[in-house]
Amino acid sequence: MAGESLTVDHLSVVFQARGGNHAAVRDASFEVGSRRMVGLVGESGSGKTATGLALLGLHDPSTTTIGGSARFGETELLGLPPQAANRLRGSIVGMIFQDPMTALNPLLTIGTQVSETIRIHEGLDRRNARERAIEILARVGLPDPAGRYRRYPHELSGGLRQRAMIAAAIACRPRLLVADEPTTALDLTIQAQILTLLRTLCVDEGMSVLLITHDLGVVGAVCDDVVSMYAGEVVEIGPTKEVLDRPRHPYTARLMASRPRIDGWDERLDVIPGRVPSASSSPTGCLFRPRCRQAREVCEETQELVTLSAGRRVRCIRAVEPDQVSFGAAAVAP
């Protein structure tokens, strides 16, 4: 279990469609350290899922162009020939999805779907794969794993289904797990259970986890680091506590402020005005500028991702100015 980490370098994902190209991810660079859990946050359309799918090579190559590189340890994940990509998926890199209702095949038993991964990658026969699958089902906290092995997805509750999906994804102990909104479709108490499970897998199995979410509360609860994306660009990177306590990019700050809080019912929700620019337009300068309260003339120039300290990077002119203000304090001030 060497210290393998994921290094994403200048990743771009462009969808070709009638009426032009859509850049879903623009020149994104970030790392997921070995055995670390990294939250990839942003609004819908910010390129989070496109990034995750690119790491597993799940985009349709006939309509998608992928650029840059993503290395996990010594292995390049992007641009692999189909067979090599199939070998990697499920064995080195795993992925789980948002809705366990639709991501499990309704016609196959839980057991078939978990042991399938094992049989593909480890060539085990049915009986041995079954034993392993039941172990994995127990590992993800599914009660009565041997009984549930024979059940179909519709016979399980949402939380158990999500556990079953995680079991199918980690059955061959992948070293990197991409979790795309794994708790969004679940209710709150189940959310906490699934997040705890992911955290446990990360720590105990030495799995690196890229957790894609729009929920900063989830990130604060389980992630070591945060990568904040806006309109396909990475705008802020840093350790979770630092980023959440003192966000340095106005977008991350506004994401924090627009979080509904259980203790603040009388407060109006602070929504970010405007919307993520369409991926087909190719604007210049800071992409968040039209929606930013602190926007100035200088923001019309292209902004680079600037390193402030080790592991702390921000794409905003104000972050590098001497008279910097804490957006976190400004935005959340009563």
């Binding site: 199939n86 998926r89 999805f97 639709t102 991501a103 095949n105 016609l107 593909i120 990658h121 179909y152």
Partner: protein
């Protein structure tokens, strides 16, 4: 000692308790199965009664009757009445139907009004011919239709896929009698590769059977091929975008396993519906195709019977066709349950 005696009874009890419990569940399940079977059986019989009665009634509404056909145009009214009485046609409709149904229940479908052959022996001659034709056409529709549907979906954006899809759309629009005539003209008259008419007799051998069966099978089954292909292609294209396909790919599933285990299984549900309807249409379609190819099957039998008002024969054919359709529907139902566990458990 005291602890041992106190723990013993609870240890002994659970097995008997669970036995009772599982016995009760088994009985309940058996009762439910019986009730379902009784309901299904009742519906089956009711459908047959309704179909045969309506046929009985409709035929007699048609002007002209067997007595005229037998005695000729110039027969005296007395002679006609005599024949009618002989055939039982002077009795009320319900009584006639009742005596027919009683006979049918005992396997006696009466005698043809013209050939003096028992209807049962006519059916024994004709039914295998029609059934083999329907079976061949259904096989053609499944084998070629599934292959074309898969190609149309997998290569949806390429030339092959588009050609297959275009051909399927065309195939649905072509009427079977027209296709039959074209096939006869091209492959029997211009190029004498296949016989234009007739059908092999039993004992002629497989090759001879195929020689006679090829053209009518294509004429009858082409629309089915197109229908299955179109339906499967549409279902597959939808399934390809499903989350569980992406999940399967994320696990490393690819190629045949992805297509067969994950995509085709899910896409087969709407196709099974189409197959059920297709069997009904094939049974109906044999009437036309058998006439075009002069095949001595149920289709030609019923056409002649209708022309001659041969009531017993018409009735028997209607009954047999209704039974075939009902059996096809039952098979479709069973297939649904086999494919989809959600239907099984509801």
């Amino acid at each position: 000692m005291s602890t041992a005696t106190s723990t013993a009874p609870p240890q002994a009890r659970p097995p008997t308790g669970s036995d009772d419990h599982s016995g009760a569940t088994t009985r309940r399940r058996a009762a439910r199965v019986l009730r379902t079977a009784a309901l299904r059986g009742g519906a089956f019989v009711a459908t047959l009664v309704l179909a045969t009665f309506v046929a009985f009634w409709l035929i007699q509404l048609v002007p002209g009757d067997p007595a005229t056909a037998i005695a000729g145009e110039n027969a005296t009214p007395q002679r006609l009445a005599e024949i009618r009485a002989q055939l039982g046609l002077d009795e009320p409709l319900l009584v006639q139907y009742g005596s027919w149904a009683l006979g049918a229940l005992q396997g006696d479908f009466g005698t043809s009004l013209y050939s003096d052959l028992s209807v049962t022996s006519l059916l024994a001659q004709r039914l295998p011919v029609t059934l083999s034709l329907v079976a061949c056409s259904l096989t053609l529709a499944i084998v070629v239709g599934v292959a074309a549907g898969v190609i149309g979906a997998v290569r949806a954006n390429r030339a092959t896929g588009k050609v297959v899809t275009g051909a399927a759309t065309l195939g649905i629009a072509i009427p079977n009698f027209w296709l039959g005539l074209v096939l006869v003209t091209v492959f029997a008259l211009w190029n004498p590769w296949f016989p234009a008419t007739g059908f092999s007799r039993s004992g002629d051998g497989a090759l001879e059977f195929l020689r006679f069966a090829v053209l009518p099978t294509i004429a009858l089954g082409a629309a089915g091929v197109a229908e299955v292909a179109r339906q499967l292609r549409g279902a597959l294209l939808e399934v390809f975008t499903a989350d569980y396909i992406r999940m399967a790919r994320a696990k490393g599933v690819s190629g045949t396993a992805l297509l067969v285990r994950h995509a085709l299984r899910n896409a087969s549900v709407p196709v099974v519906t189409v197959l059920g309807l297709l069997i009904n249409r094939l049974v109906g379609g044999t009437v036309v195709v058998e006439v075009v190819f002069a095949i001595p099957g149920m289709g030609t039998l019923v056409v002649d019977a209708v022309k001659q008002r041969d009531y017993p024969v018409i009735q028997a054919v209607v009954l047999v066709m209704a039974v075939i359709v009902l059996i096809a529907n039952a098979i479709v139902e069973i297939l649904y349950r086999r494919i989809d566990p959600r239907i099984r458990s509801s």
